[in-house]
């Protein structure tokens, strides 16, 4: 056995002709004048920060006004009981679709770009759902696969009650496990493996709903918690049978407190979405001392990427705490740190979504084509329901500098715009509990520095040499 392993390692050491031959879109990105684009993006953010500084108090708050959409009054006949029935009904549809997807995960094509489960989970649900929440509000509360079946089977019963403050530890832990699966596991795309994980995750949460009641979805299930937070920043939302419209974060004008552990949860999310990008840069490969041109795949970096992700999450957690702490230490108003840290951390959400868009845009552009193909033949039996059987997936937009430039600028716009929203949001949040303009300015200074650095990081990740 030892001889076999030694022989195998020896063979690997002797291996030559590592055909790192393909020229990725990053090769064309390196030809773009990013040395001009990056300072321009940062300049936009700095300008936004300056505007928030020099504008009169409450000026920024006006941006976050809410407007009722009168048209939706026509739908007033839908009572709250009906609304619940719709929720149950839609959730049941999701539940049945999930079962079909899991079955296809086990029995369908072994190719992750042909299997509906792999494509749906990684290229549709995970990529699209956060954006949908941020635009249309909490549609996940209708679409999650647990609510309907949980309501029908367990009504409103529960055995244990969840603590409001501490429960954020649970979704934090689960999101961390999810991140490790997504970023570190050797084959998260593999249909068999993914079907097993999705199945176990569904059953585990189903069991928790039985124990803790349907409240589990609001406090324990990490995606419901994440998506629910995102929906608090949405452009459109529903409340008391009325529809509203407002700039990202307008709903927060009515929310003054979030549990302090929100910062832990959001630090893990932001760390995940930032590290998935950083871990592909040559810079990271230098740190872990691996030749990026000889990269031997995910199995060779399991330990390094696990540690990297955890360290990055811890780093972000403390740096954000420090940012908020320093911002409030030198003001003359009395502030209870525990009461404001949770609500302040919401400013991390638009940054997380910005990184999400920037990093996964290219994957989405390719994989959505595979999904389009799969819709025509979901059971991989040669059927051609939508006539897409002969459709060929293309990646030509990575082959020419014009399209690579457009893609890069969209990604960069997402990063900059996400940070602009974050700056405005952080300002408006503090505006609610700080009395004087001078306190407000001092409180925003450290977080402004943080935002500028994080914008730079995002734009740098987009433009530096990377693997894949």
């Amino acid at each position: 056995m030892i001889i076999n392993i030694t022989l195998f390692l020896l063979i690997l050491l002797l291996s030559f002709e590592i055909s790192y031959a393909h020229v990725s879109e990053r090769a064309l990105t390196l030809l773009l004048p990013t040395e001009i684009y990056i300072p321009s993006g940062i300049a936009v953010l700095v300008l936004t920060i300056l505007i928030t500084y020099i504008s009169p108090k409450a000026f920024i708050g006006k941006l976050f006004r809410t407007y009722e959409i009168i048209f939706f009054k026509r739908f007033n006949f839908i009572s709250s009981i009906d609304l619940n029935s719709i929720k149950v009904f839609m959730s049941l549809i999701s539940f049945f679709l999930l079962i079909i997807l899991i079955v296809l995960g086990f029995t369908g094509s072994r190719d992750p770009l042909v299997n509906p489960l792999s494509l749906f989970i990684w290229s549709v649900w995970f990529l699209v759902m956060p954006l949908a929440q941020m635009i249309f509000g909490n549609i996940w509360s209708f679409l999650n696969p647990w609510y309907g079946i949980g309501k029908i089977l367990f009504k409103n019963n529960f055995f244990f009650k969840l603590d409001n403050n501490l429960t954020l530890l649970i979704p934090s832990l689960f999101f961390l496990l999810f991140s490790l699966f997504m970023l570190v596991d050797i084959a998260p795309d593999d249909p068999d493996r993914l079907a097993t994980v999705v199945c176990l995750y569904f059953l585990l949460n189903f069991f928790c709903i039985w124990l803790f009641g349907i409240e589990w979805l609001k406090k324990g299930e990490c995606f419901s918690v994440f998506f629910s937070m995102l929906s608090k920043l949405s452009l459109f939302w529903f409340e008391n049978r009325k529809a509203y419209f407002g700039f990202f974060g307008s709903q927060l004008t009515h929310i003054n407190y979030l549990p302090p552990l929100t910062v832990l949860f959001l630090a893990i999310i932001l760390a995940t979405l930032s590290f998935d990008g950083l871990n592909e840069t040559f810079f990271w490969f230098k740190i872990i001392n691996i030749n990026p041109l000889e990269f031997h795949g995910r199995s060779s970096v399991i330990f390094q990427n696990s540690i990297g992700l955890l360290a990055f999450a811890i780093f972000l957690f403390f740096i954000f705490l420090l940012t908020i702490y320093l911002g409030h230490k030198f003001i003359y108003e009395e502030i209870e740190f525990n009461k404001i840290i949770g609500i302040n951390s919401i400013a991390l959400l638009p940054i997380a979504i910005a990184y999400h868009i920037a990093h996964y845009l290219t994957t989405f552009l390719v994989n959505i084509q595979y999904f389009y193909k799969v819709l025509s033949d979901p059971f991989n039996n040669g059927s051609n329901y939508f006539g897409t059987g002969n459709f060929h997936v293309t990646t030509s937009f990575f082959n020419s500098i014009e399209t690579v430039r457009i893609i890069w600028l969209i990604q960069a716009f997402a990063i900059v715009f996400g940070h602009v929203i974050a700056v405005l949001l952080a300002h408006s949040i503090s505006e609610k509990y700080l009395k004087s303009k001078s306190s407000l300015l001092i409180s925003q200074f450290p977080i402004s520095i943080f935002m500028i650095c994080y914008t730079f990081l995002g734009l740098w990740i987009l433009s530096t040499p990377s693997v894949g």
């Binding site: 291996s15 031959a21 030809l31 094509s109 992750p112 050797i186 990026p292 795949g297 990646t395 030509s396």
Partner: protein, 428 residues
């Protein structure tokens, strides 16, 4: 009418048939063989880079494979049996590559395994193929097969290896471009192989390597290395790879303007890239090795024409459905040819099921001449059964007005080197 036919069956008979079919079909892997064995598909496990750094190649390897399978199946399959492809993503990762082979052998009941490009995946997978006694036909270009590093179950009959490609360039470079060569290469195993194979072959031709300029793998700016290139360099041999390769070309152009040495490189540097990208004008007039000419040439064979049409590639080497989607034309023919070799091997050996795997390998080992044909559109080949490696023509093209025009075709003999192993002496 249906009703009548139903009534002719007794209920007991019907239940018995259902039970029999049900019990057989319920056994894993038995579904397809529940039919007559003569019509059961030949199951080929396709180890493919679907994710990871090789995904761009995987997409075109998949497209070529599907096209070849369609052609073979439409013309009667293998011994009258259709091919069924079972794809497993190897993640461009050796560990997953080995796992894919295990699944082919133990879960999917595949007859043989086939595919994959990146050398480290082949090297990580081949030992498992040997243990599983699963014929493993690779399309990777690596010298690892012919070097003797692998085993009797691993063969590379459909694509030539880097060692033969590199050494075959030497006579052309010396006779047509210049006798004084400077080599610029990434400073790790891939670049070192080019350095060693080419310099040995070039010096044996009477040429001279006047400088070797290694570049650190993580380098992204190259101007500081160009002064190391001697002024009397006649030919610059470059094999840069990775995301900074286009930056390298651009900076080289800025450094030399129109007065530089002649350039010779491998198409790998710009595989699947639109050659009309701004910044790459400097490459006009330079020479590239191509495994298979990307652009349809004036003397295009009917076989290349047929192959292009079947895969859906236009005369510029791009997808017919998107003229900007440039294929990995220099490499992907290997999938097409390998599948045709598997077909021929199975037909010659009278392959019926997994117990005939060794007969299949012996049949392929006994192959020698593979003439230019529909099965071999890239060109004629000579297979060496002892080293499990094929040898074939190499192409050198000159970039002319943003297109690659064939300048020279090597002989097959130019690619030969002494055998380094005899796998036929290994037992099954």
């Amino acid at each position: 009418m249906k009703k009548n036919s139903k009534s002719n069956l007794s209920r007991r008979k019907l239940m018995k048939s259902i039970a029999a079919v049900g019990s057989i079909s319920a056994m894993p892997g038995f579904v397809n063989y529940s039919q007559a064995s003569s019509s059961a598909p030949i199951r080929i496990g396709f180890q493919v880079h679907r994710t990871g750094i090789g995904a761009a190649y995987g997409r075109w390897y998949d497209r070529t494979t599907q096209a070849a399978v369609k052609i073979i199946n439409d013309s009667g399959g293998i011994n009258g049996r259709p091919i069924e492809i079972i794809s497993e993503d190897d993640g461009t990762d050796p560990k997953r590559g080995a796992e894919a082979l295990e699944k082919f052998a133990n879960q999917h009941n595949c007859d043989v395994a086939f595919g994959t490009l990146f050398s480290h995946v082949v090297i990580g997978s081949a030992p498992r193929a040997g243990e599983l006694k699963l014929p493993y036909f690779v399309v990777s270009e690596g010298h690892h097969v012919a070097s003797g590093m692998l085993n009797r179950y691993t063969l590379q009959p459909g694509i030539t290896d880097v060692k033969s490609q590199v050494q075959a360039m030497a006579p052309f470079v010396k006779n047509n471009l210049g006798k004084k060569v400077t080599m610029v290469y990434p400073d790790f195993a891939f670049g070192h192989d080019h350095r060693d194979y080419f310099s040995a072959a070039f010096e044996s031709q009477g040429g001279e390597i006047i400088a070797k300029v290694p570049i650190p793998p993580t380098e992204s700016s190259f101007s500081k290395y160009f002064p190391k290139i001697p002024r009397d360099t006649e030919v610059l041999y470059h094999v840069m790879v990775g995301p900074a390769v286009l930056t390298f070309v651009k900076e080289l152009g800025e450094f030399y303007g129109s007065k530089g040495p002649k350039l010779f490189g491998f198409i790998d540097s710009v595989e699947a890239v639109d050659l009309n990208t701004p910044g790459l004008e400097f490459l006009d007039g330079s020479y590239f090795w191509e495994g298979n000419p990307r652009y349809a040439q004036d003397n295009q064979t009917v076989h290349d024409q047929f192959y292009r049409t079947a895969v859906g590639v236009d005369k510029n080497g791009a997808s017919v459905s998107d003229p900007k989607d440039v294929s990995t034309y220099a490499h992907m023919f290997g999938c097409w040819e390998t599948l045709h070799i598997i077909k021929k091997g199975m037909e010659v050996s009278g392959y019926s099921d997994v117990k005939d795997r060794s007969k299949l390998i012996e049949a392929v080992e006994s192959m020698k001449n593979m003439p230019l044909s529909q099965a071999h559109p890239q060109g004629a080949k000579i297979f060496n059964g002892k080293t499990h490696q094929t040898f074939g023509h190499q192409y050198i093209s000159k970039m002319t007005n943003g297109k690659l025009v064939l300048a020279h075709t090597t002989s097959i003999e130019d690619t030969f080197y002494p055998d380094e192993v005899d796998y036929t002496k290994q037992s099954f």
